[in-house]
Each structure stands twice: as structure tokens, then as C-alpha cells.
């Protein structure tokens, strides 16, 4: 019975090491057709052997400021402490209004959130028992939709008092970027 208990206790201790909480925090530089922009991310989740899965939240300043919210999955390769990894993210991003972003529609200008995704590869350098330095390069896609009405500057008392307003139009932003990230994992 003691042997069984010790074995079970040992198994429980191993069980508790199977999933470990990790936090990955990055600064990124986004490069694309528009001006380079900054990105900040924090991804928190569980590591199990060479796999990691977590939830990420960030700030993305490319063209239109937005807040990505996504699921992150990573796979590490190699048996050394420093490892190569691949990762993929998928989620959505929410527009966060700022004065710098010029409205494209004179009336009822509003944004709809869109898909956010990323695939990339990186390298993880273990600094000590707890901290690792990570850097990565990825292809990143973010989508936002801007809707509104292009206003016809009519005579006074004009649209849209009683007649049908001008039809709603939309602008689809499909933004493709390369992102370099560096950060800390613990």
C-alpha cells in the first residue's frame, strides 16, 4: 500500500508538471505597404512539453489602430535549451479610434471588427530557469471594415430628413504585413 501510495504521489507530482503557465510578451515592428508601425502583445497560456496554447491580446498601430484578440498555438523544436519554434495565431481585432485616422465617410462613419491572423517562426533563447528571450518573424494579416455614407451636400433641410439617406458604403481594409517581434517569455 505504501508503494502504491508513493507511486501515485509520484504520478501526481509528474501530472502537475505536465502543464505549466507561460507568459509571452512582445514588442513588434510591423512592416508593410504603409509606414512601419509598432505592435505590443501579451500571450498567456499553458505549455505542455513542446506545445504551447494561449490567448493573446495586443495593440496594433499599423494604418488603423486596433486591439487584436486571438488564440496562439506554438510548437518548439530541438532538444537543447535554445529552441526554434513555429507559431500560428487566429482571432479578431477591434478598431480603437484615434484622431490621426481620417474618417472616410462624412456621415455615420463606423468600424466593424475583422479577422486577425499570423503565422511565423522564431527562436527562443533560454536565459535562466525562468526567463527566455524570444524573437520571431511572421506574416500577419488584419482586416477591418469601415462603413458610412458619402454625403451629398444638398440644399438645406436636405437629406436625410424624410427621404431615403444615401446608401451605405464600405471600405474593406485587408492589411498584409511582415512583423518582427522580440520579447520575453517566462
Amino acid at each position: 500500500m505504501a508503494i502504491v501510495s508513493a507511486h501515485c504521489f509520484g504520478q501526481q507530482k509528474n501530472q502537475s508538471r505536465r502543464f505549466q503557465f507561460h507568459s509571452i510578451n512582445n514588442f513588434g515592428l510591423i512592416n508593410g505597404q504603409a509606414d512601419p508601425a509598432l505592435q505590443i502583445q501579451t500571450i498567456n497560456g499553458l505549455q505542455h512539453k513542446s506545445w504551447f496554447g494561449g490567448i493573446g491580446l495586443g495593440l496594433d498601430y499599423y494604418r488603423l489602430r486596433s486591439i487584436p484578440l486571438f488564440v496562439d498555438v506554438r510548437k518548439e523544436f530541438g532538444k537543447t535549451k535554445d529552441r526554434f519554434f513555429l507559431f500560428a495565431d487566429a482571432g479578431t481585432n477591434f478598431y480603437w479610434k484615434r484622431d490621426k485616422d481620417a474618417k472616410q465617410f462624412y456621415e455615420e462613419d463606423k468600424f466593424k471588427n475583422g479577422f486577425y491572423g499570423e503565422v511565423g517562426a522564431g527562436y527562443k533563447i533560454k536565459l535562466n530557469q525562468k526567463f527566455s528571450l524570444i524573437s520571431s518573424l511572421s506574416f500577419n494579416y488584419k482586416k477591418l471594415i469601415e462603413k458610412g455614407r458619402n454625403y451629398f451636400y444638398c440644399d438645406p433641410m436636405a437629406c436625410p430628413i424624410t427621404s431615403l439617406p444615401p446608401p451605405e458604403e464600405k471600405i474593406d481594409y485587408n492589411l498584409n504585413r511582415l512583423v518582427f517581434k522580440a520579447g520575453i517569455e517566462f
Binding site: 535554445d82 481620417a102 462624412y106 528571450l133 436636405a158 424624410t162
Partner: protein
């Protein structure tokens, strides 16, 4: 010892691994030109459908009653309410019993924006034409006269130069489809256009002698762009005021036009004078001394905004709203002393939500305040308006008050309220 070893090893690692960090950064920078954004703009394209003017005019006549779509102008004459549907025509409502109004017919007037009634005669625009109807039987209006090209602002709809009705094409319909094109975001913000015409202007003509149609002159309300004084019809377009001799009711004769200001909005007649509201101010003209060519009396400038106006013997009441069509920023009522037209001055402003149409009956001032509903004030003391009642559950746009009955055009229908007892203002009907 362990600590310093770690510190040394950590720094070494960072230094030696620096290339593993810098290479991805360089790659991102070098290859950023290979990734492109795809930004598209989806909008509606409206292609006009044309018809020869002579054929188009044949369609302008009374037809069976139909559902009222988007509500435009409203005119009350006798026991009838005439409600326009923008660009389509005019619905005729028998309001003999205000508690149960009846939709009796529809006057098909393609391109219609405004109307006005004098006695048994209805004047309405049909694109650039001024059409004169005999409404002796309001349910069976008959087009009697077409004055061509009276509203040149609306000539945008003509495809060619005017020579005869058989050679002019008029837009009678639109084919609508969506299209998507590549788009470069405009750093200056949204774009908008400046076509002439007044697609959504509203008017109310109020017949002061409500019991009979014949011979009685209509009195237009706050949002009107047509006005009648004695034997003259006055219309305002984007920047012009035009006059028509309607001594022969069924054959208006164009007299003259002149420039008032840019972005003219409304015209309100009161005791032989014309109060013209524009984006920048209010202009006053004498239409009695010189009816064919009203003479200017004075003007009052105000902050930019849409501004319907009504007047009494001493004051003009102007609502100003921040509708983007008028590039305005204020929402208020301005009361202007007009006892001396050459020296009119602001008495007081009252902040409102989004005021549009208004009407005055005695000391009672009725203001349509958009989503804030209808507000009824005691205006005996213009320096101290007192709110009598606020009817909140309608999005009121314009109003006509007649014999204790308030007829309100709202975004979702036409409401009628009995205000004969100010302590018991209550709804009568909704159409």
C-alpha cells in the same frame, strides 16, 4: 558565485545570439515591399433611366391611393392634407375627420420636391417644370399647365439642351447596382458632392380659411420653399428667388429671379413680407410694394446651419440645426426682433436638441425637435419661453397648426394632436 555566473552566461547568450534576433528584423525590413495591402471601396452606382419629357408629362395625373413611402412636404388646404413623397408625387388625404384620416388618391408627379396651394390650384415642381393642377376635386387633380425649365437647378436631370418637350430626356428611374473598386484612403477625410436641387426640403402650406378651398390663399409654414402673397407665387432654389404672376391661377407667368445668397433653404410669407432663410442668415423682402420683384428690407446673419423661419408682427423665430447638409454646428432657436427690418437684432437664443420645423399660433410656439419630439412653448415673453408640453415619442420633423389641431410630420408617420385645450394636449390620430 552562482549569481555572477548566471549574469555572465546570460549576457554572453544575448550577445552571441544577437544575430538570431537581428536577422529576422532585417528580413522583415528588406521584404516588407513584397507584402501589399488590399483596400477596396464598395458603393452603389445609380444609372439613370430616361424618358422623353412629353411622355413624362402624360404620367402626371391622379391615380388610386397608395401607401405613403418616405414623407416629404405637407400642405393643408380645407379638409385635405397633401403629403409629398420625394421625387414620386403627392398623396391626398381626406382629413374631414381628423380622428380618422383617409388616403384617397395619389398625384403622380415624378421629380417632385415642393408644392403650394392657392384656392383650387396646386403648384408643384416636376424636375425643372412648374406644374399647375386644378384640385377642385382634390381626389382627382388635373394637370393644367406646364411651365418649362422654371427650376434650372433641377436641370441636372435633363440630358440635353431644352428645345421642346419631345427632345428633352428626363430621368424617370434609376438602375442601382453595387460596385467595388480599389481605394486609397483619403487623409483629408470623407468626400461629398454638391449637386443643385433640394431633394429633401419640406414645406407646409397652411390655408388660413380652413373651411373652403376656393379663393383662399395658402400660407406656407417653416420649411417651405414655395410661398404665395396675393397674386404671386415665390419659389426659392439653391441661391435664387423667383416670382410668378398667378393672377390667372392655372397659368402662372414667370416674372423674374434674383440671387439671395448661397444655400437658400426656406421662404416664409407674413403680411406681404418674405422671410428667406439661408445657411448664413435670414433675408427679408417686401412683396407688396413690388410683387414682381420683391425689394430687400434687411438681413440678419447667424451661425451656419439649416434655419427654417416663421414670423409674427414683431419677431422672427429661426431654428438652427447642425445637419451636415448645412455644415452647421449649433442646435438652437433664435428669436430676432424685426420691428425695424434694417436693424433687426437677436433677442435671445434657446438651446435645443435638433430643431427643424416650427409653427406659431398666437402665443404658442411649436418646435419639432428631432428625436426629442415636439415641444410646445408659451412665447408670450420671448425672453422667457415656458415649456407647456413635450411629446417625446415621435421624431418630429415639421408641423402645421390650424384651428387647435397640430399636424406633425414625423419620420414614421403623420400625427395629429388636439391642442385646443393647452392643459389637455392629446393625440387624435396617426397616419
Amino acid at each position: 558565485m552562482v549569481k555572477s555566473t548566471c549574469k555572465t552566461n546570460c549576457m554572453e547568450k544575448i550577445f552571441l545570439s544577437f544575430k538570431k534576433i537581428i536577422v529576422p528584423a532585417l528580413v522583415a525590413a528588406l521584404f516588407s515591399g513584397c507584402v501589399k495591402d488590399k483596400i477596396t471601396h464598395t458603393y452603389q452606382v445609380r444609372t439613370p433611366v430616361y424618358q422623353v419629357l412629353s411622355k413624362f408629362r402624360e404620367q402626371i395625373k391622379s391615380m388610386p391611393a397608395s401607401n405613403i413611402g418616405s414623407r416629404g412636404k405637407m400642405t393643408v388646404a380645407g379638409n385635405y392634407i397633401f403629403i409629398s413623397e420625394l421625387y414620386k408625387g403627392i398623396h391626398v388625404i381626406d382629413n374631414s375627420n381628423p380622428a380618422s384620416p383617409k388616403n384617397v388618391s395619389f398625384i403622380n408627379v415624378p421629380g417632385n420636391e415642393d408644392m403650394s396651394i392657392v384656392g383650387n390650384t396646386l403648384y408643384a415642381d416636376a424636375y425643372s417644370d412648374l406644374v399647375t393642377f386644378d384640385i377642385t376635386d382634390p381626389a382627382n387633380a388635373v394637370a393644367k399647365n406646364f411651365a418649362a425649365n422654371v427650376f434650372p437647378d433641377h436641370a441636372i436631370y435633363y440630358a440635353g439642351l431644352y428645345t421642346s418637350p419631345d427632345s428633352i430626356n428626363v430621368v424617370v428611374d434609376w438602375i442601382v447596382h453595387d460596385t467595388t473598386v480599389d481605394y486609397v484612403p483619403n487623409q483629408g477625410g470623407g468626400i461629398y458632392f454638391y449637386p443643385p436641387g433640394c431633394p429633401n426640403c419640406m414645406t407646409i402650406a397652411q390655408n388660413m380659411n380652413a373651411s373652403t378651398l376656393p379663393g383662399a390663399a395658402g400660407t406656407n409654414g417653416s420649411l417651405s420653399r414655395f410661398a404665395t402673397v396675393n397674386n404671386y407665387l415665390y419659389t426659392v432654389s439653391y441661391s435664387q428667388l423667383s416670382s410668378f404672376d398667378i393672377t390667372n391661377r392655372l397659368a402662372p407667368v414667370y416674372k423674374t429671379n434674383f440671387t439671395v445668397d448661397w444655400h437658400v433653404e426656406t421662404i416664409f410669407p407674413f403680411k406681404g413680407r418674405l422671410f428667406v432663410g439661408t445657411n448664413n442668415g435670414m433675408y427679408m423682402y417686401d412683396a407688396e410694394a413690388s410683387p414682381s420683384n420683391p425689394t430687400p428690407l434687411g438681413e440678419f446673419t447667424h451661425v451656419r446651419g439649416c434655419d427654417p423661419v416663421v414670423a409674427d408682427d414683431n419677431y422672427a423665430y429661426v431654428t438652427i440645426n447642425d445637419s451636415s447638409a448645412c455644415l452647421g454646428f449649433n442646435n438652437e432657436l433664435q428669436i430676432i426682433n424685426v420691428q425695424n427690418f434694417t436693424n433687426s437684432f437677436l433677442v435671445k437664443s434657446y438651446q435645443l436638441t435638433h430643431p427643424i420645423g416650427l409653427s406659431k399660433d398666437g402665443n404658442n410656439l411649436f418646435i419639432c425637435d428631432g428625436s426629442d419630439g415636439l415641444k410646445i412653448f408659451n412665447a408670450a415673453d420671448v425672453n422667457n419661453l415656458q415649456l407647456i408640453k413635450q411629446i417625446k415619442d415621435i421624431n418630429a420633423v415639421d408641423i402645421i397648426t390650424i384651428n387647435g389641431l397640430a399636424i406633425v410630420v414625423a419620420t414614421d408617420g403623420v400625427y395629429q394632436y388636439d391642442y385646443s385645450d393647452l392643459n389637455n394636449i392629446h393625440p387624435v390620430s396617426k397616419l
